[in-house]
């Protein structure tokens, strides 16, 4: 177990979350598998979708998460318009007694990329309605700034399309977003394996949200463990202050005291 330096709390909207790894529940094959992955990840916040009740369902996702002491973050997944997203968020607030919402407004059903115009519109309405809004957005620093300006509690830029496992396609933009942000930046979407999550933290993100990389891994529980460690490593590396990149070498061994010189 590594020794951490000074306390490093992860705070969103005044609430301290005990883990910088957020887990999405989408794609999991069974409640048992999901439960094991959630525990292995050490997460404090998990997203759920809002869907029609299925009278034949035996298990309750709400009960599972509450039983594990994990906070529920409802997601407006599947919404293509601000109006749909706002209604879904309001239903979620009623259902789960939380003001927190992951705002997802999709502009294209093939790439699942966010629609920035509908997204900012919905964010503004929901902030006005008292929600704590965590918007899933593209890696455009201008849109990220707009979302923060309308009052979002965090910004959650994608690394690459949902479920693609392509990692962080534009690390430069993620760094720009981190540099300008006054709220936590959570890398959300496209993470494929542990090194992607580690890189996100090294780039300065406050946290990462992982779904498919864990739920669709061959061994979700083991991948959840890997992600937990990757997020911790990346965060520590960031806080440790890395060396600069150099065009040529810088000797790590002194030239003094060389034999024969």
């Amino acid at each position: 177990m590594t020794v951490d330096a000074a306390p490093d709390p992860f705070v969103v909207a005044g609430t301290e979350l005990g883990s910088r790894l957020l887990l999405g529940t989408g794609g999991m094959t069974s409640p048992e598998s999901l439960g094991r992955a959630l525990v292995a990840s050490g997460t404090a916040l998990a997203t759920v979708a809002v869907r029609r009740v299925d009278p034949s369902t035996r298990h309750s996702l709400v009960d599972l998460l509450e039983g594990l002491g994990i906070r529920i973050l409802p997601n407006t997944a599947g919404c293509f318009t601000a109006a749909d997203a706002v209604l879904t968020a309001r239903l979620a607030r009623e259902a789960f007694a939380t003001d927190w919402v992951k705002l997802e407004v999709i502009g294209d059903d093939r790439t699942l990329l966010p629609d920035p115009i509908e997204l900012v519109e919905a964010a503004e309405q929901l902030v006005d309605d008292g929600f704590v809004v965590l918007p899933y957005c593209g890696d455009d620093p201008v849109v990220a700034r707009r979302l923060e300006q309308v009052g979002c509690a965090a910004v959650m830029p994608l690394g690459s399309p949902i479920g693609s496992g392509l990692g962080i396609r534009n690390p430069h933009n993620i760094e720009l977003i981190v540099e300008q942000a006054g709220v936590p930046v959570v890398l959300d979407a496209g993470i494929g394996t542990a090194s992607d999550a580690c890189l996100a933290m090294e780039l300065g993100c406050s946290a990462v949200l992982v779904a498919s990389a864990v739920t669709r891994a061959e061994d979700p529980e083991l991948m959840a463990t890997a992600m937990r460690d990757a997020v911790r490593s990346g965060r520590a590396a960031r806080r440790a202050g890395r060396i600069s990149r150099r065009f040529v070498a810088e000797a790590s061994s002194s030239f003094e005291g060389l034999v024969g010189r």
Binding site: R58, A77, L91
Partner: protein, 92 residues
């Protein structure tokens, strides 16, 4: 927005708007996209009890507007209404 014009109760309802089964006739509405017939006097709370394994973690919208949990008992369902009963599902 529906206004109960496809209600099959044959009456205009005692309150002039979509019939809520004022003469004991069943109320025909849509629940989660399916046609559903409910006894006269059915409330939102009754629908939740009939459809949901538990009321916990459930939210209700009628004709696109959220009905707060505290109003379920007091809200009758009307003919032609579109009701959505939602809860958490794996996703997001």
């Amino acid at each position: 927005m529906t206004d109960g014009t496809d209600g099959t109760d044959g009456s205009s309802g005692t309150d002039g708007s979509g019939g809520s089964g004022g003469h004991g006739m069943p109320v025909v509405l849509t629940v989660n996209g399916e046609r559903y017939e409910a006894p006269a006097g059915t409330t939102v709370a009754d629908l939740v009890a009939a459809w949901c394994p538990s009321p916990k973690g459930v939210a209700v919208a009628v004709d696109g507007a959220v009905v707060p949990r505290g109003e379920w008992e007091a809200t009758p369902v009307t003919s032609g209404a579109a009701v959505e009963l939602v809860t958490a599902a794996a996703g997001g």
